[in-house]
Amino acid sequence: MLNVRLFDLTTLLFGVASVNYVAALYGKKETIARIGTWVCIAAAIVSTAAIGVRWAESYKMGIGRIPVTNLYESLVFFAWSVNLFYLAVEWKYKSRTFGAFVMPIAFGTMLFALTNESSIQPLVPALQSYWLHAHVITCFVGYAGFAVSAGVAVMFLMKAKREERKVTGGVVGRFPSTKVLDDLVYKAIVWGFPFLTAGIITGAAWANYAWGTYWSWDPKETWSLIVWLVYAAFLHARVTRGWHGRRAAILSIIGFLATIFCYLGVNLVLSGLHSYGGA
């Protein structure tokens, strides 16, 4: 199918962008990083087109639905969100060093997506709902924010360690200041958290409309709550107990690990109502 070819191309572009950003970091060549940016933009266009094509193709097959309903599609959508999120950050903060830490997440996600069934499958009746679209989209935009935050948190930890040892220069020397990094770790969560909140709420609304219960402590639901609680703890620790810097960065990384578990681990390890289980 054309959409899968386009997603393969997207994967390739994410790979090229990741290599560019890393190479630019080590080679200290801004031109290479600038090419990385253009590759990211190209990837954004190609992947957006791919999502559109997949959508159209599903209609042609008589299935007709937005492509966010199985593991393959959600991974692709997640990578798409991370890429856009990253481009926004790069543009806002005028630094391309983030790319070396964020784009590999998008690239890895697409590589993992390749190992999954990519054909368009019909939907079981429970998944045929507009709430599903709102639910998946809000959740994954939230996850993308957390991914960016965790990537930057890693940068922060590297930079903070260097500064402690009073080492300057080198790759890490080209990172933005710890102040900027710390702020971005927080900012990305500030963007991710409302989306996750909305994601949990739309999920509850959908469950209520389909089954008559907005909350049933199904493992997936519960894990999304756990992720939400971890970030709530992060926010409170930061505002009121002054947890900045190192501890905040570590909490951001823990939060993202919980997110990954919520997304993949629950289906691979635990059982539940969600549709990605069989994939």
Binding site: I63, P122, V124, P125, A126, Q128, S129, W131, V180, D183, V190, F193, P194, T197, A198, I201, A204, A205, N208, Y209, A210, W211, G212, T213, Y214, W215, W217, P219, T222, W223, L225, I226, L229, V230, A232, A233, H236, A237, T240, R241, V266, L270, S271
Partner: protein, 453 residues
Amino acid sequence: MADAKHAESLMDRVWKFFTSLKLAIFVIIFLAIASIIGTVIEQNQPLEKYRQIYTDGTIRLFEKLSLFDMYHSWWFLLLLVLFTVNLICCTVDRLPRVVRIVRNPKTTLDENLEKSLGFVDRWKKKGELAALAETYRAAMGGAFARPRVTENSGTFHLYAEKGVASRFGVYVTHISIIIIFLGAIVGNVLGFKGYANIVEGESVRRIPTRGGTNHVDLGFSVRCNKFWVEYYPNGQPKEYASDLSVIENGREVLRKTIEVNDPLQYKGVWFYQASYGPAGASTVTVTVSNPDGGQRETISLSPGRHAEISGYGKISAVDYRPDFQGLGPALLVVLEKPGTQPAQFWLLKAFPEFDRQRKDTRYLSFAGLNEIFFTGLQVARDPGVNIVWLGCALMVIGIIIAFFLSHQRLWIRLSRGGDGRVEVVLAGSTNKNRLAFEKKFEKIQGDMKAVKP
């Protein structure tokens, strides 16, 4: 007296405990950990299932700790209560202070305030004090927000603020959590959740609630007129639906076809399409024809029964395949004619003339399967659900306010300096998002310095 003092300090300490954020973070993390346990140990499974996984000793221990129905255990509820009390106390403790700050803003920039602010700049300007105050008032309105002006023994103070709502976002968020809990409690106390399996053509009025020990009388009944399933080409169910009627006082008052994700609602009770299944035995229809094209007879067969075809023999249906070797639906029948061995053969729905090949006095055709289903409905009444949605809406709004607005304040003080020029002090503060405010402040600094009297 000492006692009273002691008691007061104890009260203080209890209050401190319940208003502390340490407790909040502890409870939040503990809730998260407890929730993890609840997903690792499968909840509300039959005992046999646990026996396969755990030893008897472990099962007894887990039962004592209510780990098999953890989310309804006393200690989990206690945790939720602690969380709520903490949240309420925190709000009661802080909200009045915030209201005070907002209602009585510090509109004059004195020395102490100036020292406490992160953004301060000063410069001198030639000109007349009152006229300059007027100029700055206009400039500040353009660059930031319209200021309030106060004059205090020859010193002019200008004060402007933006994003006051930001102070309340947190409280909206927190109160929304309490509203959601309230909605959940209302739903649990005043509502019910049950299920009903209705065979096509039948109706129910009493609904067994979840757990199965109690019943709820709806005060009206629901009839399933018809149930059907549609399939994708690959055989997977695409949609299933029930044609339902609500019957009250002997009259049909409402009729609707429900599907998964499209429920029916009557008098606050919702009926959701949840499942379906075969309702006992289905029947098959077989037609018996004369090869000359003459007389024709239609008979209905139920499993395990046979039917007599007068002047021919006995026939029974023994097997049915929805798709027999790619030829579509097929029925395996056994035919017993007097004085011969029973014969067993397939009839294909797609080829009604197929049985002519036996070259007998009659041939049989398979006209179709009459499946009888029951429709599985979830039935729920939840008067708290709208309270929950209200809470959810407030939560999103509160979070957005808390995160994306900031309470920014700006002061200008104008006073006559010793050298006859006017001394201008500009100061600013924000309750969050310092980096963004820093840029803004720099711009305002530039604008204010460039002001022409």
